[in-house]
Subunit: 201 residues, 2 copies
Amino acid sequence: MSTAKTRHHHGDLKRALIQAGIDLLEEGGLEALSLRKCAARAGVSHAAPAHHFAGLPGLITAIAEEGFDIFSKYMTDAINAGEQTDRERLRGICRGYLQFGLSHSGLLKVMFGEHGLGVHAPRSDNREEAEAYLILRGVCAPFVPEGEDPHIVEAQVWSLIHGFTLLYLGGEFGCTDAPIEDSPFEAVMALIDRIGTQATG
Amino acid sequence: MSTAKTRHHHGDLKRALIQAGIDLLEEGGLEALSLRKCAARAGVSHAAPAHHFAGLPGLITAIAEEGFDIFSKYMTDAINAGEQTDRERLRGICRGYLQFGLSHSGLLKVMFGEHGLGVHAPRSDNREEAEAYLILRGVCAPFVPEGEDPHIVEAQVWSLIHGFTLLYLGGEFGCTDAPIEDSPFEAVMALIDRIGTQATG
DNA sequence: ACTCAATTTTGACACTGTAAAGTTAATCTT
DNA sequence: AAGATTAACTTTACAGTGTCAAAATTGAGT
Protein backbone atom coordinates (compact mmCIF):
# COMPACT_ATOMS: atom_id res chain seq x y z
CA MET A 1 0.00 0.00 0.00
CA SER A 2 2.76 2.44 -0.87
CA THR A 3 1.34 5.87 -1.30
CA ALA A 4 2.99 7.28 -4.40
CA LYS A 5 5.77 4.99 -5.57
CA THR A 6 5.82 3.28 -8.95
CA ARG A 7 2.16 2.47 -8.85
CA HIS A 8 0.15 1.67 -11.89
CA HIS A 9 1.19 2.88 -15.27
CA HIS A 10 3.24 5.96 -15.19
CA GLY A 11 5.11 5.81 -11.93
CA ASP A 12 4.03 9.03 -10.38
CA LEU A 13 2.25 11.11 -12.89
CA LYS A 14 1.19 13.73 -10.38
CA ARG A 15 4.76 14.75 -9.77
CA ALA A 16 5.58 14.73 -13.47
CA LEU A 17 2.61 16.95 -14.24
CA ILE A 18 3.55 19.48 -11.59
CA GLN A 19 7.13 19.60 -12.85
CA ALA A 20 5.96 19.98 -16.44
CA GLY A 21 3.73 22.80 -15.30
CA ILE A 22 6.58 24.58 -13.56
CA ASP A 23 8.78 24.20 -16.62
CA LEU A 24 6.09 25.55 -18.91
CA LEU A 25 5.57 28.44 -16.52
CA GLU A 26 9.23 29.40 -16.40
CA GLU A 27 9.68 29.00 -20.13
CA GLY A 28 6.70 30.89 -21.43
CA GLY A 29 4.91 32.55 -18.56
CA LEU A 30 1.38 32.00 -17.44
CA GLU A 31 0.01 32.03 -20.97
CA ALA A 32 2.05 28.98 -21.87
CA LEU A 33 0.64 26.86 -19.08
CA SER A 34 -2.10 24.44 -20.09
CA LEU A 35 -3.32 21.09 -18.89
CA ARG A 36 -2.93 19.53 -22.28
CA LYS A 37 0.65 20.64 -22.69
CA CYS A 38 1.51 19.32 -19.25
CA ALA A 39 -0.05 16.00 -20.16
CA ALA A 40 1.87 15.89 -23.42
CA ARG A 41 5.16 16.60 -21.67
CA ALA A 42 4.46 13.84 -19.19
CA GLY A 43 3.73 11.52 -22.07
CA VAL A 44 0.10 10.85 -21.24
CA SER A 45 -3.18 11.69 -22.89
CA HIS A 46 -4.79 15.05 -22.39
CA ALA A 47 -7.46 13.84 -20.00
CA ALA A 48 -5.13 11.99 -17.65
CA PRO A 49 -4.49 14.96 -15.32
CA ALA A 50 -8.15 15.00 -14.35
CA HIS A 51 -7.56 12.05 -12.03
CA HIS A 52 -4.84 13.85 -10.09
CA PHE A 53 -6.02 17.44 -9.95
CA ALA A 54 -9.29 19.25 -9.80
CA GLY A 55 -8.93 20.66 -13.28
CA LEU A 56 -6.58 23.44 -14.21
CA PRO A 57 -7.14 25.39 -10.99
CA GLY A 58 -6.15 22.28 -9.09
CA LEU A 59 -2.91 21.92 -10.99
CA ILE A 60 -2.15 25.59 -10.47
CA THR A 61 -2.75 25.19 -6.77
CA ALA A 62 -0.30 22.30 -6.65
CA ILE A 63 2.26 24.34 -8.55
CA ALA A 64 1.75 27.22 -6.16
CA GLU A 65 2.44 24.95 -3.20
CA GLU A 66 5.65 23.83 -4.82
CA GLY A 67 6.42 27.49 -5.43
CA PHE A 68 6.05 28.31 -1.75
CA ASP A 69 8.64 25.67 -0.92
CA ILE A 70 11.17 27.24 -3.29
CA PHE A 71 10.15 30.64 -2.00
CA SER A 72 10.91 29.61 1.57
CA LYS A 73 14.29 28.33 0.50
CA TYR A 74 15.18 31.64 -1.12
CA MET A 75 14.27 33.52 2.02
CA THR A 76 16.11 31.31 4.48
CA ASP A 77 19.17 31.24 2.24
CA ALA A 78 19.24 35.01 2.00
CA ILE A 79 18.76 35.33 5.74
CA ASN A 80 21.59 32.95 6.51
CA ALA A 81 23.92 34.49 3.94
CA GLY A 82 24.10 37.86 5.65
CA GLU A 83 25.23 39.14 9.01
CA GLN A 84 23.34 37.56 11.86
CA THR A 85 21.92 40.68 13.40
CA ASP A 86 18.21 41.32 13.71
CA ARG A 87 18.35 44.16 11.21
CA GLU A 88 20.39 42.28 8.66
CA ARG A 89 18.10 39.29 8.89
CA LEU A 90 15.18 41.57 8.19
CA ARG A 91 16.97 42.98 5.18
CA GLY A 92 17.95 39.48 4.17
CA ILE A 93 14.42 38.18 3.92
CA CYS A 94 13.58 41.10 1.67
CA ARG A 95 16.52 40.33 -0.59
CA GLY A 96 15.40 36.71 -0.76
CA TYR A 97 11.85 37.79 -1.56
CA LEU A 98 13.01 39.96 -4.44
CA GLN A 99 15.49 37.43 -5.75
CA PHE A 100 12.85 34.75 -5.83
CA GLY A 101 10.62 37.08 -7.77
CA LEU A 102 13.36 37.87 -10.25
CA SER A 103 14.24 34.21 -10.77
CA HIS A 104 10.73 32.77 -10.73
CA SER A 105 8.30 35.47 -11.71
CA GLY A 106 5.91 32.95 -13.16
CA LEU A 107 5.70 31.06 -9.91
CA LEU A 108 5.22 34.25 -7.96
CA LYS A 109 2.30 35.24 -10.13
CA VAL A 110 0.74 31.85 -9.71
CA MET A 111 1.25 31.90 -5.96
CA PHE A 112 -0.32 35.27 -5.34
CA GLY A 113 -2.24 35.81 -8.53
CA GLU A 114 -5.70 35.20 -9.79
CA HIS A 115 -5.81 31.43 -9.48
CA GLY A 116 -3.14 31.00 -6.83
CA LEU A 117 -6.01 31.00 -4.50
CA GLY A 118 -7.07 34.03 -2.66
CA VAL A 119 -10.63 33.93 -3.77
CA HIS A 120 -10.93 30.32 -4.83
CA ALA A 121 -10.06 28.82 -1.47
CA PRO A 122 -9.03 29.84 2.01
CA ARG A 123 -5.26 30.17 2.26
CA SER A 124 -5.05 29.38 5.94
CA ASP A 125 -4.72 25.60 5.75
CA ASN A 126 -1.84 25.46 3.35
CA ARG A 127 1.27 23.90 4.80
CA GLU A 128 3.71 25.46 2.36
CA GLU A 129 2.40 28.96 2.63
CA ALA A 130 2.14 28.73 6.39
CA GLU A 131 5.80 27.75 6.52
CA ALA A 132 6.81 30.75 4.44
CA TYR A 133 4.83 33.00 6.73
CA LEU A 134 6.55 31.57 9.79
CA ILE A 135 9.91 32.56 8.36
CA LEU A 136 8.63 36.11 8.03
CA ARG A 137 7.26 35.96 11.53
CA GLY A 138 10.55 34.82 12.99
CA VAL A 139 12.50 37.60 11.34
CA CYS A 140 9.98 40.25 12.37
CA ALA A 141 9.69 39.10 15.97
CA PRO A 142 12.61 41.14 17.36
CA PHE A 143 10.96 44.31 16.11
CA VAL A 144 7.58 43.76 17.70
CA PRO A 145 7.13 46.05 20.70
CA GLU A 146 6.29 44.22 23.90
CA GLY A 147 2.65 43.32 24.21
CA GLU A 148 1.81 44.35 20.66
CA ASP A 149 0.24 42.24 17.96
CA PRO A 150 3.03 40.79 15.81
CA HIS A 151 0.76 41.04 12.78
CA ILE A 152 1.41 44.76 12.67
CA VAL A 153 5.10 44.57 11.90
CA GLU A 154 4.54 41.56 9.69
CA ALA A 155 1.98 43.39 7.61
CA GLN A 156 4.30 46.35 7.25
CA VAL A 157 7.26 44.31 6.07
CA TRP A 158 5.23 42.00 3.88
CA SER A 159 3.31 44.80 2.18
CA LEU A 160 6.45 46.76 1.49
CA ILE A 161 8.54 44.00 -0.03
CA HIS A 162 5.61 42.38 -1.81
CA GLY A 163 4.60 45.64 -3.41
CA PHE A 164 8.13 46.51 -4.38
CA THR A 165 8.77 43.11 -5.94
CA LEU A 166 5.60 43.19 -8.00
CA LEU A 167 6.12 46.74 -9.19
CA TYR A 168 9.73 46.03 -10.01
CA LEU A 169 8.80 42.93 -11.96
CA GLY A 170 6.15 44.88 -13.81
CA GLY A 171 8.82 47.30 -14.92
CA GLU A 172 7.11 50.13 -13.09
CA PHE A 173 10.37 51.56 -11.85
CA GLY A 174 11.77 51.52 -15.35
CA CYS A 175 14.98 49.79 -14.39
CA THR A 176 14.55 46.07 -14.89
CA ASP A 177 18.03 45.57 -16.27
CA ALA A 178 20.09 47.84 -14.03
CA PRO A 179 21.81 46.29 -11.01
CA ILE A 180 19.59 45.99 -8.01
CA GLU A 181 21.73 48.38 -6.02
CA ASP A 182 20.81 51.22 -8.34
CA SER A 183 17.11 50.52 -8.19
CA PRO A 184 14.73 51.90 -5.60
CA PHE A 185 15.36 48.71 -3.69
CA GLU A 186 17.76 50.49 -1.38
CA ALA A 187 15.14 53.15 -0.80
CA VAL A 188 12.69 50.50 0.29
CA MET A 189 15.34 48.97 2.52
CA ALA A 190 15.84 52.37 4.11
CA LEU A 191 12.17 52.35 5.06
CA ILE A 192 12.51 48.80 6.35
CA ASP A 193 15.26 50.09 8.59
CA ARG A 194 12.77 52.38 10.27
CA ILE A 195 10.55 49.56 11.37
CA GLY A 196 10.54 49.17 15.11
CA THR A 197 11.97 52.62 15.68
CA GLN A 198 10.30 55.79 16.82
CA ALA A 199 9.85 58.72 14.56
CA THR A 200 11.16 62.13 15.51
CA GLY A 201 10.50 65.14 13.42
CA MET B 1 -13.55 63.95 -40.78
CA SER B 2 -14.71 63.63 -37.20
CA THR B 3 -12.55 61.21 -35.28
CA ALA B 4 -14.93 59.01 -33.36
CA LYS B 5 -18.46 60.25 -33.79
CA THR B 6 -21.32 58.25 -35.26
CA ARG B 7 -19.19 56.90 -38.06
CA HIS B 8 -20.06 53.84 -40.04
CA HIS B 9 -22.20 51.11 -38.68
CA HIS B 10 -22.24 50.95 -34.99
CA GLY B 11 -21.60 54.47 -33.85
CA ASP B 12 -18.52 53.94 -31.83
CA LEU B 13 -17.91 50.30 -31.34
CA LYS B 14 -14.55 50.83 -29.72
CA ARG B 15 -16.13 52.56 -26.78
CA ALA B 16 -18.89 49.97 -26.50
CA LEU B 17 -16.37 47.15 -26.50
CA ILE B 18 -14.31 48.74 -23.76
CA GLN B 19 -17.39 49.29 -21.65
CA ALA B 20 -18.57 45.73 -22.21
CA GLY B 21 -15.14 44.53 -21.18
CA ILE B 22 -15.20 46.55 -17.98
CA ASP B 23 -18.67 45.23 -17.17
CA LEU B 24 -17.62 41.65 -17.78
CA LEU B 25 -14.57 42.21 -15.63
CA GLU B 26 -16.50 43.58 -12.70
CA GLU B 27 -19.19 40.94 -12.95
CA GLY B 28 -17.13 37.82 -13.27
CA GLY B 29 -13.47 38.68 -12.82
CA LEU B 30 -10.71 38.19 -15.31
CA GLU B 31 -11.86 34.72 -16.30
CA ALA B 32 -15.12 36.09 -17.58
CA LEU B 33 -13.47 38.53 -19.95
CA SER B 34 -13.33 37.42 -23.56
CA LEU B 35 -13.29 39.12 -26.91
CA ARG B 36 -16.26 37.16 -28.14
CA LYS B 37 -18.41 38.03 -25.17
CA CYS B 38 -17.55 41.70 -25.50
CA ALA B 39 -18.52 41.54 -29.15
CA ALA B 40 -21.79 39.83 -28.29
CA ARG B 41 -22.64 42.47 -25.68
CA ALA B 42 -21.94 45.20 -28.16
CA GLY B 43 -24.21 43.44 -30.63
CA VAL B 44 -21.60 42.71 -33.27
CA SER B 45 -20.02 39.57 -34.61
CA HIS B 46 -17.14 37.87 -32.91
CA ALA B 47 -14.46 39.13 -35.25
CA ALA B 48 -15.44 42.77 -35.24
CA PRO B 49 -13.16 43.81 -32.36
CA ALA B 50 -10.09 42.90 -34.40
CA HIS B 51 -10.35 46.17 -36.31
CA HIS B 52 -10.32 48.27 -33.16
CA PHE B 53 -7.84 46.50 -30.96
CA ALA B 54 -4.73 44.44 -31.42
CA GLY B 55 -6.41 41.27 -30.26
CA LEU B 56 -7.30 40.52 -26.69
CA PRO B 57 -4.13 42.08 -25.26
CA GLY B 58 -5.06 45.27 -27.08
CA LEU B 59 -8.52 45.35 -25.56
CA ILE B 60 -7.09 44.69 -22.14
CA THR B 61 -4.66 47.55 -22.60
CA ALA B 62 -7.52 49.86 -23.49
CA ILE B 63 -9.46 48.71 -20.44
CA ALA B 64 -6.41 49.30 -18.29
CA GLU B 65 -6.13 52.87 -19.55
CA GLU B 66 -9.74 53.44 -18.65
CA GLY B 67 -8.96 51.89 -15.29
CA PHE B 68 -6.18 54.35 -14.62
CA ASP B 69 -8.60 57.21 -15.16
CA ILE B 70 -10.97 55.84 -12.54
CA PHE B 71 -8.00 55.10 -10.34
CA SER B 72 -6.84 58.70 -10.50
CA LYS B 73 -10.30 59.86 -9.60
CA TYR B 74 -10.36 57.67 -6.50
CA MET B 75 -7.04 59.05 -5.36
CA THR B 76 -7.80 62.71 -5.91
CA ASP B 77 -11.19 62.34 -4.27
CA ALA B 78 -9.67 60.70 -1.22
CA ILE B 79 -6.98 63.35 -1.03
CA ASN B 80 -9.47 66.19 -1.21
CA ALA B 81 -11.84 64.57 1.27
CA GLY B 82 -9.43 64.73 4.19
CA GLU B 83 -7.60 67.42 6.06
CA GLN B 84 -5.37 69.47 3.81
CA THR B 85 -2.09 68.84 5.56
CA ASP B 86 0.86 67.17 3.89
CA ARG B 87 0.56 64.10 6.09
CA GLU B 88 -3.17 63.73 5.68
CA ARG B 89 -2.88 64.05 1.93
CA LEU B 90 -0.32 61.28 1.99
CA ARG B 91 -2.66 59.11 4.02
CA GLY B 92 -5.51 60.10 1.73
CA ILE B 93 -3.88 58.82 -1.43
CA CYS B 94 -3.36 55.49 0.30
CA ARG B 95 -6.99 55.33 1.29
CA GLY B 96 -7.99 56.08 -2.28
CA TYR B 97 -5.64 53.43 -3.57
CA LEU B 98 -7.13 50.80 -1.31
CA GLN B 99 -10.71 51.85 -1.92
CA PHE B 100 -10.21 51.64 -5.65
CA GLY B 101 -8.83 48.16 -5.22
CA LEU B 102 -11.78 47.12 -3.10
CA SER B 103 -14.32 48.51 -5.51
CA HIS B 104 -12.61 47.53 -8.76
CA SER B 105 -10.35 44.59 -8.10
CA GLY B 106 -10.75 43.31 -11.64
CA LEU B 107 -9.55 46.57 -13.07
CA LEU B 108 -6.63 46.67 -10.70
CA LYS B 109 -5.51 43.22 -11.76
CA VAL B 110 -5.77 44.17 -15.39
CA MET B 111 -3.86 47.40 -14.82
CA PHE B 112 -0.93 45.88 -13.03
CA GLY B 113 -1.29 42.23 -13.90
CA GLU B 114 0.00 39.86 -16.49
CA HIS B 115 -1.47 41.49 -19.57
CA GLY B 116 -1.90 44.99 -18.23
CA LEU B 117 1.43 45.66 -19.74
CA GLY B 118 4.59 45.41 -17.83
CA VAL B 119 6.19 42.91 -20.09
CA HIS B 120 4.18 43.36 -23.24
CA ALA B 121 4.93 47.03 -23.71
CA PRO B 122 6.78 49.88 -22.09
CA ARG B 123 4.61 51.70 -19.60
CA SER B 124 6.29 55.06 -19.93
CA ASP B 125 4.25 56.52 -22.75
CA ASN B 126 0.84 55.98 -21.28
CA ARG B 127 -1.08 59.15 -20.64
CA GLU B 128 -3.46 57.70 -18.07
CA GLU B 129 -0.83 55.97 -16.00
CA ALA B 130 1.47 58.96 -16.15
CA GLU B 131 -1.34 61.09 -14.77
CA ALA B 132 -1.88 58.71 -11.87
CA TYR B 133 1.80 58.77 -11.11
CA LEU B 134 1.84 62.56 -11.07
CA ILE B 135 -0.79 62.53 -8.37
CA LEU B 136 1.45 60.31 -6.29
CA ARG B 137 4.40 62.54 -7.03
CA GLY B 138 2.57 65.64 -5.91
CA VAL B 139 1.55 64.13 -2.62
CA CYS B 140 5.02 62.79 -1.94
CA ALA B 141 6.85 65.98 -2.83
CA PRO B 142 6.66 67.64 0.62
CA PHE B 143 8.45 64.64 2.09
CA VAL B 144 11.39 64.61 -0.29
CA PRO B 145 14.51 65.91 1.45
CA GLU B 146 16.18 68.80 -0.33
CA GLY B 147 18.35 67.75 -3.20
CA GLU B 148 17.27 64.14 -3.08
CA ASP B 149 15.72 62.08 -5.86
CA PRO B 150 11.94 62.19 -5.47
CA HIS B 151 11.75 58.64 -6.78
CA ILE B 152 12.94 57.38 -3.42
CA VAL B 153 9.94 58.51 -1.41
CA GLU B 154 7.63 57.66 -4.28
CA ALA B 155 8.92 54.11 -4.46
CA GLN B 156 8.49 53.72 -0.72
CA VAL B 157 4.92 54.91 -0.66
CA TRP B 158 3.90 53.13 -3.84
CA SER B 159 5.44 49.82 -2.83
CA LEU B 160 3.83 49.92 0.57
CA ILE B 161 0.29 50.72 -0.48
CA HIS B 162 0.43 48.60 -3.61
CA GLY B 163 1.63 45.58 -1.70
CA PHE B 164 -0.91 46.06 1.04
CA THR B 165 -3.78 46.44 -1.38
CA LEU B 166 -2.88 43.32 -3.33
CA LEU B 167 -2.33 41.20 -0.25
CA TYR B 168 -5.52 42.47 1.29
CA LEU B 169 -7.47 41.69 -1.86
CA GLY B 170 -5.94 38.26 -1.96
CA GLY B 171 -7.27 37.62 1.50
CA GLU B 172 -3.76 37.21 2.84
CA PHE B 173 -4.54 39.12 5.99
CA GLY B 174 -7.58 36.99 6.60
CA CYS B 175 -9.95 39.87 7.18
CA THR B 176 -11.64 40.72 3.92
CA ASP B 177 -15.00 41.39 5.51
CA ALA B 178 -14.01 43.22 8.68
CA PRO B 179 -14.05 47.03 8.63
CA ILE B 180 -10.90 48.55 7.22
CA GLU B 181 -10.07 50.17 10.53
CA ASP B 182 -9.56 46.77 12.13
CA SER B 183 -7.30 45.49 9.38
CA PRO B 184 -3.56 45.98 9.24
CA PHE B 185 -4.29 49.04 7.16
CA GLU B 186 -3.70 51.28 10.13
CA ALA B 187 -0.40 49.51 10.73
CA VAL B 188 0.67 50.32 7.22
CA MET B 189 -0.44 53.90 7.69
CA ALA B 190 1.74 54.07 10.79
CA LEU B 191 4.71 53.19 8.63
CA ILE B 192 3.65 55.74 6.07
CA ASP B 193 3.74 58.30 8.87
CA ARG B 194 7.41 57.58 9.32
CA ILE B 195 8.28 58.59 5.79
CA GLY B 196 10.33 61.75 5.72
CA THR B 197 11.25 61.51 9.39
CA GLN B 198 14.46 60.47 11.04
CA ALA B 199 14.75 57.28 12.97
CA THR B 200 15.89 57.28 16.55
CA GLY B 201 16.37 54.16 18.51
C1' DA C 1 -23.88 57.08 -60.13
C1' DC C 2 -19.41 55.39 -59.33
C1' DT C 3 -15.49 54.45 -56.63
C1' DC C 4 -13.26 53.35 -52.75
C1' DA C 5 -11.95 52.47 -48.30
C1' DA C 6 -13.42 51.53 -43.72
C1' DT C 7 -16.37 48.33 -41.19
C1' DT C 8 -18.49 44.24 -40.19
C1' DT C 9 -19.77 39.32 -41.14
C1' DT C 10 -18.98 34.67 -42.29
C1' DG C 11 -16.43 30.67 -42.12
C1' DA C 12 -12.62 28.18 -40.81
C1' DC C 13 -8.66 26.60 -37.96
C1' DA C 14 -6.03 25.43 -33.99
C1' DC C 15 -6.19 25.66 -29.62
C1' DT C 16 -8.25 25.37 -24.74
C1' DG C 17 -10.86 22.82 -20.48
C1' DT C 18 -14.03 19.32 -19.35
C1' DA C 19 -17.19 15.49 -19.25
C1' DA C 20 -18.58 10.61 -20.41
C1' DA C 21 -17.67 6.19 -21.71
C1' DG C 22 -14.49 2.57 -22.77
C1' DT C 23 -9.85 0.10 -21.91
C1' DT C 24 -6.04 -1.48 -19.51
C1' DA C 25 -3.42 -2.81 -15.53
C1' DA C 26 -2.65 -3.54 -10.68
C1' DT C 27 -4.58 -4.91 -6.26
C1' DC C 28 -7.85 -7.44 -3.32
C1' DT C 29 -10.69 -11.31 -2.03
C1' DT C 30 -11.61 -15.90 -1.68
C1' DA D 1 -4.37 -19.26 -8.36
C1' DA D 2 -8.73 -17.25 -10.41
C1' DG D 3 -12.15 -13.96 -10.52
C1' DA D 4 -13.79 -9.40 -9.04
C1' DT D 5 -12.86 -4.70 -8.04
C1' DT D 6 -10.87 -0.49 -8.32
C1' DA D 7 -7.58 2.89 -9.89
C1' DA D 8 -5.10 4.91 -13.94
C1' DC D 9 -5.36 6.05 -18.32
C1' DT D 10 -7.29 6.61 -23.32
C1' DT D 11 -10.64 7.79 -26.57
C1' DT D 12 -14.18 10.48 -28.17
C1' DA D 13 -16.89 14.39 -28.14
C1' DC D 14 -18.46 19.15 -27.07
C1' DA D 15 -18.52 23.97 -25.99
C1' DG D 16 -15.66 27.60 -25.60
C1' DT D 17 -11.60 30.59 -26.85
C1' DG D 18 -8.35 33.85 -30.09
C1' DT D 19 -7.17 34.67 -34.73
C1' DC D 20 -6.90 34.76 -39.60
C1' DA D 21 -8.68 35.21 -44.68
C1' DA D 22 -12.10 36.17 -47.65
C1' DA D 23 -16.52 37.96 -48.61
C1' DA D 24 -20.25 41.26 -47.96
C1' DT D 25 -22.01 45.56 -46.38
C1' DT D 26 -22.03 50.46 -45.48
C1' DG D 27 -20.70 55.48 -45.61
C1' DA D 28 -18.50 59.08 -47.67
C1' DG D 29 -16.14 61.56 -51.53
C1' DT D 30 -15.92 62.66 -56.36
